[in-house]
Every structure is written in structure tokens, then in C-alpha cells.
Amino acid sequence: MQSVLLQHETNQSKLVILDSVGFCCIFLSSIFPTFLEKSCIPMSENEKAIIKPEAMKPFIWLQCADGSIQQVEEEVVMFCPMIYREILQTGMGSSQNSAICLPDRVNPAILSLIFEYCRFHQVLGRSNKFPGPYFITVERKSFDEKFIRMDTKKLCELTSAADSLQLKPLVDLTSRALARMIEGKTPEEIRETFHLPDDLTEEEKLEPLKNVNDDPRIRLLNRLYAKKRKELKERQKLKDIEAEEEKKDERSVDEILSFINGEEDSKGVNAIKSKKKNRKKRDSHKDICGQESIRLKNKKEANFSPSASQCSDARDNDDDTFPSNGEFEDGDIDDLDPAVKEELDREVEDFARRLNSDWPERMQEFLSLGQNQKLVPNRASSHGSLHETTGMDRR
């Protein structure tokens, strides 16, 4: 032990002559006593070490944006081309005073992570422990996989820092990891993972490029739904103003129906309503995979309106597959509140009556009764594009 100390002292005295290298060595000796021990044992090796300073592990000093100074082994730092170039060009980094300044985006915690990465890959590249390139690749990959397991915040910072240091392999690795976190997830999940603000309005989400999964019909549907909302709001206002009259209307509609159908009770009327709905749905189902005549479009719109809310939900959830036509037909009307449901029921029934070929003469009759003249033009005018089907513009 004493001899070692003695040698240590002699080392110190010898090394005092050299400036920066010596400093490194003294620093080294305090941290890595084994290093010195190894080189201490034969005296000649020490002398060799003095003559050829590069045999000792030199350190490079780096300064982060917040002022803290770190030192790292040179060979680890060499893995990073930007710092390497800076050392060559400016000659800085060899002492604490002339530490190399790192870009803003690098902070000390991230810096240590980066150097962990560099150290592993540098050592692996030089090692002859592994028999061939295949094994080295496997080792690299498994290290990378473990290395990349961190929370998204740190991962983003690491990516940013690696980019500012121009460490391409690390940038590739981190971008791949971030891409894997985004792939295959719904927008809500992605927003949650990365804490993104949901600051796009509904309309903005729909335009300009609707999610590429969408069918043009869903877009049409959503537009229709928005229109419907507006209409329903207007009708609500009308309702408030003319509440009693509307009730009267409904009753009279039932009366007419029962009259037309030959004294069926209201349950029968409902049954007829639902039967008509089903028939209409079946008809439109047949027609869906077909032509694009306006009449059919209208039919579809009518069909889709009760389930509009469901469809827009489906779109928001980014279903992979186009929801089957069955979904539209089985639109869950119970989700809406009763007033809206009532309105929509009436809409559906109205359309059904208009479009169903059994009814035209009866519609004439119905209108000639004069009691609902107010209603029909209202409806006809509020559904702009549906005018063409009815031919009933009684203006």
C-alpha cells in the first residue's frame, strides 16, 4: 500500500509538469484507483504513460445550456459527430474552462442518457467478445429496446436533443419508438398519450380531408345531421310558440290515418308506422348499393337521420371498417330525447308517406282537407333538396 502511495506521489509530481493531461490523470486517479494501480505496478509503464499521454483515458468537458458542466470519456464523445467536429475545429473541451457548449435542447439528465447510449454502442463496436456481426446486431437491438422504454415526455426530449447533436442512429431509434406509439391508435388515445389539446372544432375535423376511412355518404350524413340540428332548434322555437297547434296537428294526422286505414286504433297506426318504416328501410337497403339518383339519396337521408348521431359517433371513433348498412337501419332512436324522437318519427313517417307509391292519391286527399296545409309546406321548404320528390309544393 505504501509503495503505491509513493508511486502516486511521484506520479503527481511528474505530472505536474504537464497541464491538461495531468489534470485529467489526477482527476482520474481519484475516481478510478484501479486504473492507476494497473499502470503503477510496473514503473516503466507509467513512464510510457507520461510520454504518450493518449494511453490514458482523456476526458472532454461539456457545458449544458443551464450552465452545468459535465465531463465524459473522449471515446464516448467521439461517437457523436457534432461534438467531434467541434473539438477538431476549435480545440476546446479539454479543460473545465474551455468546455464545449451544447445546444439549448440538451439538459443534463438527457445528456447522461445520450452518453449511456453512446457508451454502449461504442464499446460494442470495438469489442471482440462476440463472434460475429450477427450477434452484435442482436445485442444492439436488445439494448435499444430496453433503452427506449421511458415515458413520452422524456422520449420527446431525447429525440429533440439527439437531433440537435446530430446523432442520427439515436434520432432514428427514438422516432421509430414515437411512431410505434402513434400507430394503430384512435385519436383519443393518441391525444391522451401525448397530452395533445383537443382544439379542433367539429367542423374543422370534418374538413378538408375527412378521415380517409370515410365514405362520402358519411360526410353527407354529417352535413345532414348538422342541418337537422339547426332545423330541430328552429322547430323547438316554433313549438314553444305554437305548442297547442302542433298537438292538434298530431292528433289530426292520426285521425287522418285512421280514417284512411279504416278505423284502426292508434296502436295499429303505430304498427303501420313501424311497418312503413321497415318497408322503407328494406327498400332503401336494396337501393343503397346502386344508383345515385336524387330520389334515392333523399331516401337514404331520411333513413339515416334517426341514426345520424350514431354515425357521427362511429366516425369519431374511427372505425376501421365501414359500418355495415345494418347499423344505419338499426339506428338507435332511443338515444335521443323524446321531443326530438317525436319530430324525427314524424319526419320518417312523412317521407314514407310521400315516397311510398300507395299513398299519392291519399296525400292529395289529406292535403285537400286543408287542416295541415301549414305543416306540409313548412316541411317541404325546410328540406331543401327534398323538394323534387314530393312535387307537392303548395306555395
Binding site: T152, S160, E183, F194, L200, N211
Partner: protein, 432 residues
């Protein structure tokens, strides 16, 4: 950490990464997921629109066609591609369209759009529908570096070639022989050429001063080389329809004639019946010159003496050969006794034969007649390191053959014999 504030929302880190990083992340996503990011938040709305790679293939765009007829699916896909191209901003470097699109009338428009947007790589694989005739605007893509076509029709007329084209992949493309030859010659930087299942050719003369890598798979045609000083890798796999082929008397077989024209050749892979066809004819007794060949893979018939003699001649004229991989073609055992043993015993061992051979691989071994070659190599290869033996899946038991193999004398002290794991099918390792 508090001294570094990134953006207003300190939680949302990813949106404030530099744009080149965001582009890298989006490029690593399948295209559909990348476009979906447009509804994430305000910052991400148009982030995807500048990625330079657009790929419409089943991996990138998993659209399901469950309830659709083909017509509707086509329409939907065309709509999507129209929208994507319209909303894209910036150059498009890579465009891939290898999805089931039956109608092809819109592709013209897309190619015209791409030709104006600095396109560098086009992949156009038509799996269904009629063969697509490429429009002339494709010829005006001056920056094109890589072109990959499947089931298209290409009629380049008065074409000066693509000045930057480095890689050309054509599969089942209808193009005239003259047109193809002209195209190959006219592209000054053509590096890699791959022709698969081309038809309507009588022969093909390849003349390209820059070509390094050539792959040809298809029916047997007369392949010839005129000026290919840099060709280093040649992979040819031929299927022969008729059993008769014609070899003029006194003419050296095709293999050696071709080798003569390939001064820089380093690797040759011959699959199918290419080796058989190319060694039909006279074999040189006195070898004119030696070649720089380092790797040779071929599918051979070990029971055919002509082919065996060709192998020996080839190895004699390629002293630098390092890897030799032979796959035994399964041939029904002939009625008469083939003088395999006699042949190999009578082969002299030359000085330079197998002098550099390090790796030998023989796969598809199905009977004992395929072993004398192994014996011959083992006895004559001074620096052989490994001999891989793979058995044919039809072989009942490997034990007899293995027992014989162990007896063989080895010239190289480091030589090892390794038995490869039996594959379910006799898959060729050459095309892997």
C-alpha cells in the same frame, strides 16, 4: 428542467419537436395513420401534408372491402387518392400504388401530377384489372431514380432515357425487345436491373456501361451481353418449356461464352434450369482465361456428367472462388447405372482448384450419388472452413448418407461438416 420551457403547453412535447423530426415520425407510420394525425390537434392539422413518401398498398392503407362491390371500393380508393394528392404540399419523392384497383383511368392523372412534383421513385403494381398502358408523361420525369412496374405496358418512343435512373424493376411488363434494349442503354446511371416474367422476347442483348446487378427470371431466351464492364452480380433463373435445345457443334457452351463478356463478375446465381441450359454444348478443355468469380450458386443435376464436368471446369477457371453453393435438382433415378464414382475418381486434382474455397453448400441431397462431389471437394480444398449439407425433404433417412460422409478424407484441417435443418419444402436458398 424549469429553465427550458418548450412552447406554451409544457405537457405537450411532441408537437414542438422540430419539423424534420415530425416528418420522420410520420414517414415511419403507415400512410393512413399518418393522415389520421390531422385531426389530433391544431398543430397536427397539416403536418402530414409534407411527407415526401406516399404509398398506397395493403400495409400502408388497410382498407377493408367487406361490404363493397369492387366498383364501390375502386371509387372510394380513387377519391381518397385524389384528396391526398390535392392536399399534399411540397415535393413527392416516392409514390407507390400496389393495391387492388381495378380501373386504371385515373392513374394517368396521378402520374402527370407526380411528374410535376419532383418524383424520384415510382412503384406501380397492378394486381388486377387490365394491363395499364403508361402515359407519355412518365417519360418526362427527369428526376426518376427508381422505377418498379408490374403488369403495365410501356412503349417508349424516341426516348432519351431517364438521366438519373438507377434501379429498374419490370415484372410482366409488355415492352418490345428493341424498346427495352434501348431503355437499358439510354439510362446512363442504371445500376440495378431486374426483369421477371417478361414475354414476347426472342432474345435480349444487354449493353449498359454502368450496370452492376442484373436479375432475370423467366422463360429461356437468348441472353447476351455486349458492354457490361461493371456487372458484378448476375442472377438468372430460367424455365425451359421444350426439352430440345439447340447447340451448334463446336461452339463453347453459353456459360463460358457469357463469362468471357463479364470482366468484373463476382457473383453468379443460376436457378431453375439455367445451369443445364447454359452448359449444353462443348466445354472448354483448355481454359482461355481465369475469372474473378467469388461466389457461385447453381441448381445442378449431380447425376449428369456434362454438368459435373462443367462445374469442375468452372472451378478450375475461377481460382478465387470463395463460396460454392449447389442445389441438387431432383431427377428421377435413371435406369442405367451412371458412372458417377468413376467420374470423380478419375478427376485429377489441379493446383489451383478450390484454392480459396471457404464455404461449400450442397442442398437437396437425396441419394448417395450426390456425395462423390463432396468427397472430391473435401479432398482438394485446402482452406475449406465449412461444408453445409442439406437433405431433400423426400429423403427417408439421413443416416446412411451421413455415415458415408463421415468417412471422407479432408484436406483442410479446419473443415467442418454441418448438417442443415431439414426444411419442409426443398426451398432454394438462392433467392432468399
Amino acid at each position: 428542467m424549469s429553465s427550458i420551457v418548450i412552447g406554451n403547453n409544457t405537457l405537450d412535447r411532441i408537437s414542438h419537436l422540430p419539423p424534420n423530426i415530425i416528418e420522420q415520425i410520420l414517414m415511419r407510420l403507415p400512410l393512413r395513420d399518418a393522415i389520421r394525425t390531422s385531426i389530433l390537434s391544431h398543430d397536427w392539422r397539416y403536418a402530414w401534408s409534407s411527407i415526401p413518401h406516399l404509398a398506397f398498398s395493403w400495409q400502408e392503407f388497410p382498407l377493408s372491402i367487406c361490404n363493397y362491390s369492387q366498383v364501390n371500393f375502386d371509387r372510394k380508393l380513387v377519391d381518397i387518392i385524389h384528396q391526398v394528392l390535392l392536399l399534399h404540399q411540397g415535393p413527392i419523392h416516392r409514390f407507390e400504388l400496389s393495391i387492388q384497383l381495378r380501373s386504371s383511368k385515373d392513374i394517368d392523372g396521378w402520374l402527370l401530377f407526380l411528374s410535376r412534383n419532383d418524383i424520384r421513385e415510382i412503384i406501380l403494381h397492378r394486381w388486377e384489372g387490365e394491363v395499364y398502358k403508361l402515359p407519355s408523361c412518365l417519360l418526362s420525369c427527369k428526376g426518376l431514380r427508381s422505377l418498379s412496374l408490374h403488369r403495365c405496358m410501356f412503349r417508349p418512343v424516341h426516348f432519351q432515357g431517364f438521366p438519373r435512373l438507377a434501379s429498374l424493376f419490370l415484372r410482366s411488363v409488355a415492352i418490345s425487345q428493341d424498346g427495352l434494349e434501348a431503355l437499358i442503354t439510354a439510362c446512363p446511371l442504371l445500376n440495378k436491373l431486374c426483369l421477371i416474367d417478361m414475354f414476347d422476347f426472342g432474345g435480349l442483348k444487354v449493353c449498359s456501361p454502368s450496370l452492376v446487378n442484373l436479375t432475370f427470371v423467366g422463360e429461356h431466351i437468348d441472353l447476351s451481353f455486349e458492354n457490361v464492364p461493371l456487372l458484378a452480380t448476375l442472377s438468372v433463373s430460367l424455365t425451359v418449356k421444350s426439352d430440345k435445345y439447340y447447340a451448334a457443334p463446336g461452339v463453347i457452351c453459353k456459360l463460358f461464352r457469357i463469362l468471357y463478356h463479364l470482366p468484373s463478375i463476382k457473383k453468379i446465381v443460376l436457378g431453375g434450369q439455367a445451369f443445364k441450359v447454359w452448359t449444353y454444348g462443348e466445354l472448354p478443355i483448355q481454359l482461355p482465361c481465369t475469372y474473378q468469380l467469388k461466389h457461385f450458386h447453381a441448381t445442378v443435376n449431380f447425376k449428369d456428367m456434362q454438368e459435373m464436368f462443367a462445374i469442375v471446369s468452372l472451378c478450375r477457371s475461377c481460382p478465387l472462388l470463395v463460396t460454392l453453393e449447389l442445389e441438387a435438382r431432383f431427377v428421377m433415378p435413371a435406369n442405367h447405372e451412371t458412372p458417377v464414382e468413376k467420374f470423380w475418381n478419375s478427376q485429377q486434382s489441379f493446383d489451383c482448384l478450390f484454392s480459396q474455397l471457404k464455404i461449400l453448400e450442397i442442398t437437396g441431397v437425396s441419394c448417395i450419388l450426390e456425395l462423390p462431389f463432396l468427397k472430391f471437394v473435401l479432398a482438394n480444398a485446402p482452406v475449406l472452413e465449412t461444408a453445409y449439407i442439406g437433405f431433400d425433404y423426400r429423403l427417408k433417412t439421413e443416416l446412411d448418407i451421413t455415415r458415408e460422409m463421415i468417412k471422407f478424407r479432408r484436406l483442410s484441417p479446419a473443415a467442418e461438416i454441418k448438417i442443415l435443418k431439414r426444411k419442409f419444402r426443398n426451398a432454394s436458398s438462392m433467392w432468399a
